[in-house]
């Protein structure tokens, strides 16, 4: 074992620690005077020295290498499972669907659980929409939250100013979001990669800042309340509107807030299934192929006579529609929205779901959405370290599975293939 080298490394590390920690924790401000408490800093430096020594020892003894090897082996053993999910993806989705439908009626389910699952499903809808834009068409959109916000505020404002119900607001809001998507698509038709990312980023921020500043219309930072959805006119709130019949009254049940949670949850679940089905169909349709071809090579697409203008615009428009619908459900679920729910971090989270899950993949995106929304809830106590773990997970997945959690398996057609 090479002790001198280890000592040298540790000494260097300690020096850096000394330079950092003496000003950071060795100087304590007390009122107007400065207390010098070098001992505190020296403790930390000693800990750094010992830690660096330990790492050197581990590296030299090959223990660390063995640990990495073990992790790698575990992943290798796991990959057949992943492969199975990839091959039987629609059976997997079916199974998952059965479980998700059953959850609210199982013992041990709570309003909290139902809310978290609803949020997860909203993220699945959003990620499916972004998957069209980023995964299929290869257009890096960092401002997807704009459409999410359009959907949520669209519903809130249509309800507030036009008195529209949830059901009337869904198609209208989806249409508004689609128009917004088209609007964003027009100026960025000629843009690629980094430039596109910057413009979309700006677009997302513009929408948020508008929401904050148009106080008279949107309520600004104070937010806006959103009416709860109804089932064929049956309300789910304790205090019903004039002339409205309550769900519990109609079915002769005692009032329970969980009815509303379960109703919204099942509603979102139904729309999520629809969104995934639409995505799957789109991917197999000529327009889906054209998106993928555009992602692969734009010049080749032009040389083949593919109309890249309509192809790109349709990707933005359809993606935005999904985002808008996701926003309506988010608003209906929360009952109250404000601009702080629509920051850039949301765009980043939706994008990471798509990237982690595998661009263009359906099951991967579902799993990644669950991972990103459920895991932080499980580890609420470690809230401060969530972003750290999040980043680490991202790095490791990109190293070991650069195509995402689940790679898209291309359908291998029989020889001769199909027309169209």
């Amino acid at each position: 074992m090479n002790i001198p080298a280890a000592l040298k490394d540790s000494a260097v590390a300690s020096l850096i620690a000394l330079a950092l920690f003496v000003p950071m924790i060795g100087l304590v401000l007390k009122g107007q005077s400065l207390n010098i408490q070098l001992l505190r800093a020296l403790f930390v430096v000693a800990a750094v020295f010992a830690g660096r020594m330990l790492i050197s020892m581990l590296l030299q003894s090959g223990l660390l290498g063995r640990l990495v090897e073990v992790i790698r082996k575990v992943l290798v053993y796991l990959s057949p499972v992943v492969g199975l999910v990839e091959r039987r993806s629609f059976r997997f989705i079916g199974l998952l669907l059965v479980v998700l439908v059953a959850v609210p009626f199982l013992p041990g389910s709570s309003n909290y659980l139902i809310q978290i699952l609803s949020l997860t499903l909203v993220y699945v809808i959003l990620a499916t929409g972004l998957n069209i834009v980023v995964g299929l068409a290869g257009l890096l959109d960092l401002g997807f939250v704009a459409f999410f916000a359009t959907g949520a505020y669209g519903y809130a404002m249509l309800a507030q100013y036009a008195g529209l119900s949830f059901w009337a607001a869904i198609p209208l809001t989806a249409g508004i979001a689609a128009a917004m998507g088209c609007l964003l698509g027009l100026p960025v038709l000629r843009m690629h990669g980094d430039y596109l990312a910057i413009v979309t980023l700006g677009f997302g921020e513009i929408i948020r800042i508008l929401l904050v500043n148009m106080i008279d219309i949107t309520g600004g930072p104070n937010g806006i309340s959103v009416p709860r959805p109804t089932l064929f006119g049956l309300g789910f709130t304790r205090r019903l509107e004039e002339g409205q019949l309550g769900f519990h009254e109609f079915f002769g049940l005692p009032y329970s807030a969980s009815h509303r949670y379960i109703f919204i949850y099942l509603l979102i679940l139904a729309f999520t299934v629809a969104a995934i089905w639409i995505f799957k169909r789109l991917r197999e349709m000529p327009i889906g192929r054209a998106w993928e071809a555009l992602r692969e090579d734009e010049i080749a697409c032009k040389a083949l006579g593919i109309n890249h203008t309509t192809t790109k615009l349709s990707a933005f428009t359809l993606g935005a529609t999904f985002g808008g619908v996701g926003g309506v459900f988010f608003a209906a679920m929360e009952g109250f929205i404000n601009p702080s729910s629509f920051t850039f971090v949301e765009s980043a989270i939706i994008l990471s779901i798509v990237v982690l899950g595998g661009m263009g993949s359906i099951v991967g995106v579902i799993l990644a959405a669950m991972g990103i929304t459920l895991l932080p809830e499980l580890f609420r106590e470690f809230e401060n370290y969530r972003m750290l773990v999040f980043g680490l997970a991202m790095v490791f997945i990109m190293i070991w599975r650069p195509g995402g959690l689940l790679k898209v398996r291309r359908k291998t057609f029989a020889r001769g293939g199909h027309g169209g």
């Binding site: 080749a300 083949l304 890249h308």
Partner: protein, 235 residues
Amino acid sequence: MQALLKIKNLHAGYGPIKALRGINLDVQSGEIVALIGSNGAGKTTLLMAICGIVPPQEGSILYDGQEFAGRKPYHIMNQGIAQVPEGRRIFPRMTVLENLQMGASHKDGNIQNDLERVHAMFPVLAERAGQIGGTLSGGEQQMLAIGRALMSRPRLLLMDEPSLGLAPLIVKQIFDFVREINKAGTTILLVEQNAYAALKLAHRAFVLSTGEIAISGEAKSLLQNPEVRRAYLGG
């Protein structure tokens, strides 16, 4: 006889850079016309201008009596014209079959016949139908690029350096395919760096030099032309 493609006084370029300065060129139906010239002479730009991908600034491009100058690529490319772009440009993460299907994307109805025709010409594309395009060898990718262009059953096929980066034996094979496609009735405008092989294959040829047509004539006579021999055939 009316030319299938007639280009008159064509100017095109990228911003302030003029790549084409008054090109006059014609392609008769049924011909193989070679377009040779050194790097940067404007060969690729000329093909891109015909397709509308680089919009012409001046002049006219008449195809079968229709004016193409100023029209969008997606209007031009469904008029019986197809391009095999430089560097193949297949869709690397799509399967071989999907690549071929993209070639007929603007066609309505059944493409089964076109698929069978392309598969008969390139049996390897049928064997590898489910394989990811990017995993093919260079020669196979070139066949895929040609097959993809043939899917739209073009009357005029524009080929941009099909021999680029391929082994001599494969180049010979590709040139045999070009001859075969022409025999089957497709007119071909072939851009090549490999001037000797191109002139051997073509009926007529144009030599492009800094955006202008320098020499033109029968391919056989150009092979004997001292200027062409010195500049493009190595003496």
